[in-house]
Symmetry: C2
Subunit: 490 residues, 2 copies
């Protein structure tokens, strides 16, 4: 298989699909819509998990684990929730296989479940059924719990990381004594997600909240972070829901207040998933392959020896040993690729494809000169650096790259937020450069749906910081007091 990618210009969608597979991030499995996350892709996901998990714990959350299966009856208890997920549920109906008379393996019809089990598409129902047993008084609140888990949503059209039948995610589920506290929690987690996206993924996001029709099934408010991909399409990167007392009412979860009254508990839930892997790829990568922000790169520095003889390799290895000892001390991850089964040129292309931030090349002449060559993945810039400056140069450059990737993505994003006043302009922007269209909207679902039908653009969010400004709805002309962001989206 050639490692060369189709260009983004030529076919963005195909470029993405090829890149995910060729850079060894993931691939389709033999199971419809389910992916295999390959070791290199999983290593990036592990780095994401580690940072998010740290941030969750710093904000007072603990991890726990709830069942994979949800009895159908639980699932039905919150009406809008079941409506939202019913059409994409994997259902377990039997618990045994057997051999038929011809020795073929078949489902044993005698082992039919009395009540079908749903493979969780999200865990609000099973968790609130559990919280009922955990919550008695105000002393038991708040409950601040997160779980790392797999979930299943039976999607008809799937794409690696972006939309798969099974995906990995975390789902936080918190319980509070007051409405205000629950709202603050859901807003806090939106901030945590935005910080993670910007500081680790180097991916700028707009913080906002969803219109009613785009809300999570069962939520009173859905806070979102929205990112922009290089093709001008938006991607919802994380959501945090204020659930009110909906699930507490459906599962009869009450607590005794300090004053001795019995009240329903207030809830939030929030999640990000392996979809972030797709967002990471599409935010920074180029026609040569992945571009990874140093903070999430499994290998930050790759070292490729350039040599003809074994003696030369020995001499290079000795020097490299000194460098990697220092890198280890600094907590910088590295790989010394001294395989002789591949040539340097092949290795260069391979690590470009895999988005390793820095590549060091070192040969016999370098040893004589006391220098080596360091190439940056983001700008392809190469520099000759003396041995003594190597470590500080690496440290500085990794930091600079992290910042540079963010700035580049921010410039792109900011250049792709276009304010429009008419529906003609609206359509032109979508047909042209794409990105977010900032427009007045009359607040009705009817208008939202009509615009969606006509343009495929949806309301991505009402930005948290949208300023109050009198205007007219871009579609209906009715009065509006703030702009919202529309876009075509993943």
């Amino acid at each position: 298989m050639s490692n060369k990618l189709i260009s983004r210009e030529e076919d963005y969608s195909k470029w993405y699909n090829e890149l995910v597979v060729k850079a060894d991030l993931a691939e389709n499995s033999g199971v419809r819509g389910c992916m295999v996350i390959k070791p290199y892709g999983y290593a990036i996901w592990e780095k994401m998990q580690a940072e998010l998990d740290r941030m969750f714990k710093e904000t007072g959350h603990e991890n726990a684990y709830f069942p994979l299966f949800i009895p159908k009856s639980y699932f039905s208890k919150e009406a809008s929730h079941v409506d939202g997920f019913a059409k994409e549920c994997a259902v377990v109906t039997h618990y045994r296989l057997k051999n038929d008379d011809n020795g073929k393996v078949i489902v044993d019809e005698d082992a039919k479940l009395e009540e079908e089990l749903i493979v969780r598409p999200t865990s609000e129902t099973i968790i609130w059924d559990t919280y009922r047993k955990w919550i008695e008084s105000y002393r038991d609140l708040p409950i601040l719990v997160n779980q790392w888990a797999n979930v299943v949503r039976w999607e008809m059209r799937t794409r690696l990381f972006l939309r798969t039948a099974e995906f990995l995610w975390q789902e936080g589920h918190t319980a509070h004594a007051t409405e205000q506290e629950a709202i603050e929690e859901s807003q806090q987690m939106q901030r945590v997600y935005a910080e993670f996206a910007e500081n680790f993924m180097a991916m700028p996001v707009v913080k906002g909240f969803k219109s009613e029709s785009e809300r999570f099934a069962g939520a009173l408010e859905t806070y979102t972070i929205e990112a922009l991909m290089q093709d001008g399409k938006a991607l919802q990167a994380g959501t945090s829901h204020f659930l009110g007392q909906n699930f507490a009412k459906a599962f009869d979860v009450k607590f005794t207040t300090k004053e001795g009254k019995r009240e329903h508990v207030w809830a939030t839930s929030w999640g990000v998933s392996t979809r972030l892997m797709g967002a990471l790829v599409m935010t920074h990568s180029d026609d040569k392959g992945l571009v990874l922000p140093p903070k999430l790169a499994p290998i930050q520095v790759v070292i490729v020896p350039i040599h003809k003889t074994d003696e030369q390799l020995d001499a290079i290895s000795e020097k490299v040993g000194e460098i990697t000892t220092e890198l280890k001390k600094k907590g910088i991850s590295f790989k010394f690729d001294h395989r002789t089964t591949y040539k340097p040129g092949w290795k260069f292309a391979e690590y470009e494809l895999k988005g390793v931030p820095l590549r060091i090349a070192i040969g016999p002449r370098d040893l004589e000169n006391g220098t080596l060559e360091i190439a940056r993945r983001d700008t392809f810039e190469k520099k000759i650096i003396s041995f003594e400056d190597t470590i500080s140069h690496i440290e500085d450059t990794l930091e600079e790259m992290q910042q540079n990737l963010f700035n580049k993505a921010l410039d792109f994003r900011d250049n792709h937020i276009t304010e429009v006043e008419t529906f003609e302009e609206f359509k032109e922007v979508l047909k042209g450069k794409g990105g977010f269209v900032s427009a007045h909207w009359d607040g009705t679902i009817e208008t939202e749906n009509r615009i969606k039908d006509l343009t495929k653009a949806t309301i991505r969010c009402i930005p948290n910081d949208a300023k109050v400004e009198e205007g007219k709805c871009v579609f209906s002309g009715a009065i509006s007091n703030r702009r919202v962001l529309f876009a075509k989206a993943y």
Copy 2:
């Protein structure tokens, strides 16, 4: 709910069930056989995961993720494998729910899968279907991959952690060019598991291999680590399988050797699960609650202030702040429980129940004297320690406790390995003190089954270090050349 437990003496099985629930480790869920792992229990599991994951990576393994679902046809490809798991499989047959005419939520019969999907009970089949695409030549080998995942085995009689329909585990799946390398890998992972059990769980284990009838379905050899619980029953704590070329043949996975020949690949798989949580509880705990080895305790030191006035608490808190600053530097986890809603006596009992290794009590008189009281969970020994000696005392005692717990369990285990020569003795030991019975066995499945029927004892393993020794089978009298370990087991 009272926090007092029934004693082990009175009802060991009930003691275990009560302890797991009351110490906030886990509880049964509304889904038959599926447990909820509560935050305190999950925190212990996270510590186990972190150490195991580090050990896997140090031995060259990478993590990846494979689908939850396995098509029935894959599952059927390795004959003994499907026989081993067919009777306990959760089967997904549909992918949609709908409302019936009365608005009730039902399974949509129009959304029936063409081929049923099995919720993975283990992942050999889906992984070897994937490896076929990854392996072309000897250059692609070995593949050293692990996944952390949930699996489902439909057990009829379940117990928290020990036997649940869904459980969490890791499963390593490796692919090798030679038989020898695969055997070495499976033996290496047995050693890794034994090291983890002994050095972190403080749980001594016997390393051995299984008799044919106790082997994993599809394995040529199953290496095991076997531990002994306080009630004299054995517990299989981890297994590592040499799979030969069985899965490579079933899934047609071949590679080109250096010499250009096409050969089937050699395989191993190995796993430990949340079952280890049950083993941990049953190895060390007592009638007052959990006893945790310091290396796996989520909280290593709890500090309880003894005070009457707010001023006293302020003065205590200031001193505690100095201590916890030092603990943080040393990487020792702690909790300062200054809640005024609970009394010190209640807190003492609570942290005993939860197995916190060290408890510090500190009051106004201690401040005057420059001392505090430190109590050990394992021996209940209390000591008055000066402020200046506090940190070093904590460090030393935690280390000593880790060693002490291991030694105690080792003594118990070694006192419960009984060599017998006759079947009468065999039965007497099982009826009396229990534990491992070391006996000669003629090597036949018939004898093994007869002994099992008559005594409920199974062959736990043939110890790796079993010495060659002529003898007669304890049951049939036939010639045998080594002893094996029998026991009743979880």
